[in-house]
């Protein structure tokens, strides 16, 4: 598969959207879906549908096998040691809630500290805030520097002997900063502190190797990885999944149920209560295969090229102000235009089919720090091209014209 004409694998680009060719620059929000993923969902529902794991008839057995195949694919893709370390959730947000809730229950008490960073997405803050309310723990935020990065030193500064867990993004969905997660994990482990990585933006764009990174938890959203909505992955080291209490209760996650008490099932069932997002899990296998077929190195390279081209182009564009300047940066460009509010930018760009996002991108702490209520953000996926960036640039010019800049 040649990454330079991969657009045609994505049916959404086949037709015009509102008389425009779609210039989709909102992949950090959610990615478009390749044909094979959508076809897989269609075929599963129309030819093979059954619930998983609970019946012994042919369709149920087949569905169960398909479901478990995705687990193995994910395991291999992220190089986890064991397939039982892969837990399916409805998304990264649920994955983080799962960890905060169960780890919090067992290991956090009054006065303990959880260390986050100033660039965390609300999904990696609110679940910890719940514990602050319930258990009187403290939340610390490692600072971002002027380039919009969080350095190892910034993390180190905030670690105390009260720090019980560190939870940080792999890649910022606003500044694009790639955090030194391997080093953070090393440092934390020296002090016996487990680390959760919010991999929402890491997983779609960077090579993942759980055994190398050595993090304790890693959260992924399928819909940002060319997969269906409603499916996510929590990677967790087996020792944690064995040690922590279950999160949701229901069918499938139990061993023995009596009126007096309940014992829970083995991994990975323990964390998969109730009917799961069967079709989505099964189709997610195709997303993984799709990315494997292109090759994550090629994805990284392609997106880096786009980023460099985009940064150069927008820097040349007068009155565009790019947010953050991290040395290690993924395919995200957040920006403002002097005199035009980001929402107006987004509306005007949309008129030409250029889809970007405007707002605080679920990162209010970061925006407070930047002293900006909102930014505009263009983010890339495998299907983007330099042409898309040219169109972005043109649309920005139109924007300035409308606002008489």
């Amino acid at each position: 598969m040649n990454i330079h004409d991969i657009k045609k694998e994505f049916p959404i680009f086949d037709d015009k959207i509102q008389n425009n060719d779609l210039v989709y620059l909102d992949s950090a929000n959610s990615s478009q879906k390749p044909r094979i993923v959508v076809d897989r969902i269609y075929d599963f529902y129309t030819k093979e549908f059954s619930n998983v794991g609970r019946s012994v008839h042919y369709l149920a057995v087949a569905a169960t096998n398909l479901y478990e195949q995705t687990r193995v694919s994910v395991q291999k893709y992220i190089n986890a040691k064991d397939k039982d370390e892969i837990v399916f959730t409805k998304g990264a947000t649920e994955a983080i809630n799962l960890v905060a809730n169960t780890f919090g229950q067992k290991y956090l008490s009054e006065g303990d500290e959880v260390l986050l960073t100033e660039l965390e997405h609300h999904s990696n803050y609110v679940p910890w805030h719940f514990l602050r309310k319930a258990k009187n723990i403290k939340i610390e935020f490692a600072e971002i520097n002027d380039d919009g990065e969080v350095t190892l030193e910034a993390i180190e500064k905030k670690i105390t002997n009260k720090t019980k867990i560190i939870s940080v993004s792999h890649l910022s969905n606003v500044t694009g900063a790639i955090l030194p997660i391997k080093e953070i994990v090393q440092l934390a482990h020296l002090k016996n502190i487990p680390v959760l990585i919010d991999g929402c933006q890491g997983a779609p764009h960077l090579k993942l190797d759980m055994q190398d990174i050595d993090c304790d938890f890693y959260a992924i959203s399928g819909h940002k990885m060319y997969g269906p909505t409603g499916i996510g992955v929590l990677y967790a080291k087996k020792k944690w999944l064995e040690d922590l209490p279950p999160y949701q209760g229901g069918g499938g996650m139990i061993n023995e149920v009596k009126k007096e008490g309940i014992t829970y099932g083995e991994l990975p069932n323990k964390y998969e209560a109730g009917t799961m997002a069967t079709a989505q899990v099964i189709a997610f296998n195709e997303s993984i295969k799709f990315m494997e077929k292109i090759g994550i190195q090629n994805i990284e390279k392609h997106e880096k090229e786009l980023l460099d081209y985009g940064l150069e182009k927008l820097r040349k564009n007068n009155s565009v102000n790019i947010i953050g300047n991290p040395k290690e940066k993924g395919g995200v460009i957040s920006f403002t235009i002097e005199g035009v509010h980001p929402h107006d930018i987004a509306t005007i760009l949309d008129e030409d089919g250029v889809a970007i996002r405007a707002g605080h991108h679920c990162c209010q702490i970061l925006h407070d720090k930047l002293n900006l209520p909102a930014t505009a953000r263009a983010s890339f996926g495998v299907y983007n091209t330099k042409d898309d960036i040219d169109k972005l640039d043109e649309a920005i010019n139109k924007c300035k014209k409308i606002f008489n800049l």
């Binding site: 005199g339 509010h341 929402h343 107006d344 509306t347 008129e351 707002g359 605080h360 209520p373 606002f403």
Partner: protein, 154 residues
């Protein structure tokens, strides 16, 4: 859809140079409003005199051109009106943004109506409707002495 309808000269003007921006000392009613999705927020201050007339009105806040223009035009328009009249204008305006083709109140003069109608362009941009209505909901809240922060999400 046409961006020209949305970003009319008057909107751009009020958006860029909002009238009545700031806070004055002797206000006796105020309310805050915000839009959690975009981070826009507004704080409306007003002084109702003994005759229930809006003696003065101003707002603080930040937001897009539409929301700033809307607050600016609104504050211009209700100054000097009686509370009852203000409420009628608000209802009329919100009704127009929601469904009606035009403004119906007799309280406004034709040129005032024209000015307000410049905000009708948002009707074609559903996600922007709340930008136009935030300050109006907040004004109502201030008049009603409501403690609740207005959040525009229907």
């Amino acid at each position: 859809m046409d961006l020209k309808d949305l970003y009319q000269e008057i909107i751009l003007d009020h958006g860029k140079n909002p009238r009545n921006l700031g806070k004055f000392d002797n206000y006796n009613k105020d309310a805050k409003g915000n839009n959690p999705l975009c981070g826009d927020n507004v704080h409306v201050y007003l002084r109702l005199n003994e005759n229930k007339k809006v003696e003065d009105i101003a707002f603080e806040g930040h937001g897009c051109a539409i929301s700033m223009a809307s607050a600016s035009i609104m504050t211009d328009m209700v100054r000097g009106k009686e509370e009852k009249e203000v409420k009628e204008i608000v209802t009329d305006f919100l009704g127009m943004i929601k469904e009606k083709d035009s403004l119906e109140t007799n309280i406004l003069k034709d040129d005032e109506k024209t000015k307000l109608m410049s905000l009708s362009g948002v009707k074609q941009y559903p996600m922007r409707v709340k930008c136009a209505t935030l300050s109006w909901h907040t004004l109502t809240s201030a008049l009603d002495n409501s403690d609740q922060i207005v959040k525009t999400e229907e």
